[in-house]
Subunit: 213 residues, 2 copies
DNA sequence: CTCCAAACTGGTAGTTACTGTCAATAGGCA
DNA sequence: TGCCTATTGACAGTAACTACCAGTTTGGAG
């Protein structure tokens, strides 16, 4: 879904189990999945740049026009961020006295569990594409800014400081950047290590290691 | 310059004062400046996306082909990073016992002085474009990765840890992300505050504030 | 069940960034 | 002066998008 107004804001996981959607909705979901699947198949063999939108559309049996209705840009295929709202909810549920690192770590447990359960392999593939393709990496980092702003809002509310506060912005930026980096590290190691443990290590290193002699 | 093989790797500042270049070289420099100037003029009135490469080329009196010989992509007009080598040298000159934050802060003083002296206004405008235009922001963050890798290498060498070390990567990532964010903050305030002071505040907040109750 | 409005779709015709090629030209140098 | 090479412009092409319009499908009201 990422940055799209087209279909629905936070779908996928929920929607599959949740409601008996109308035929229209189900068809849309199916199309969406078909396009994404076709794309990833091509990517795996031809690479990202070597795959054209027309090919993807043909494989998925839709017109190129339709492709762009589902994914505003080719890059959107790779980036997905259905879990931000969940993370936000978890974050707000943490007590304000907790340290930032502690809150973030605990708030991430649930969303991470969900991601890993639903689309672990997809995530690994996506991170590989991201590592190999500068354009995608660039795009995904823009996306990260949205997450960062969310974190910034939450931190602002619970600390009483404005979102324009330099220190607060620095902290939110650092936490998000480090988290992203950690997921990459995790993917580079084929997802064999425990992501939460890695996150804890990385955030701790930043929180305590930057001023150590 | 950034990521271009075409003209010369680290020119501009040096070249102006340094040598009595041949006519050919001088012409190249002039063309380069003409293109950049034309572009920024258009950007200021029509915005980035609203300006086509053809317009820029026409204003600068060159063919579109030539434009791409000087700037491999339109985005390269906005991004410039002539100061990384200088920063790297300064960093390597810092003693290994120093904390990361301390080394980075001290190493940045000289390069920052140079940037602010040479192209303060350009930098402010560039940051504004970057704030307004997602594509440019994306691109500049790719560029940041290069800087991060440089920092990572330096930290790796002076600590003896490998560049693949999670903690080291987290620290390098955090420092660079926070620095970038701080420059944005500085630009949002029209460059009226002292950039080094801001950097010190931001990095300190991250180094000490993430685990505070 | 019927019919209508809205949602969805495909096709067509752009626009723009960017690439490759090739011949002409202009600068540097013997 | 005259040769060699870097620089250039014109041209043709590709691929990612955008705008528009006409035809079909769906969900719901009567």
């Amino acid at each position: 879904m990422t940055s799209a107004p087209p279909p629905n804001p936070a779908a996928d996981i929920e929607e599959i189990l949740a409601a008996p959607l109308g035929l229209r909705e189900r068809k849309k979901l199916r199309t969406r999945r078909a396009i994404r699947a076709a794309a990833f198949n091509r990517f795996a063999t031809q690479g990202y740049e070597g795959t054209t939108v027309d090919q993807i559309a043909a494989d998925a049996d839709v017109s190129p026009s339709t492709f762009f209705r589902y994914f505003p840009t080719k890059e959107d295929l790779v980036i997905s961020d259905d879990y931000d709202p969940l993370l936000e909810a978890e974050l707000r549920a943490r007590p304000a006295e907790e340290s930032i690192v502690e809150s973030v770590l605990k708030a991430m447990i649930q969303p991470l569990r969900a991601v890993l359960a639903d689309e672990r392999d997809d995530l690994l593939l996506r991170m590989r594409l991201l590592r190999e393709n500068p354009a995608i990496r660039a795009r995904s980092q823009v996306d990260m800014i949205r997450s960062r702003d969310m974190l910034l809002r939450v931190l602002s509310e619970r600390s009483g400081r404005p979102t324009s506060d330099l220190e607060l912005r620095a902290q939110a930026t650092a936490v998000l950047a480090v988290s992203g980096e950690t997921v990459e590290y995790w993917a580079e190691h084929n997802g064999e290590e425990n992501l939460i443990t890695l996150l804890e290590r990385a955030l701790t290193a930043v929180a305590t290691g930057l001023t150590a002699h």
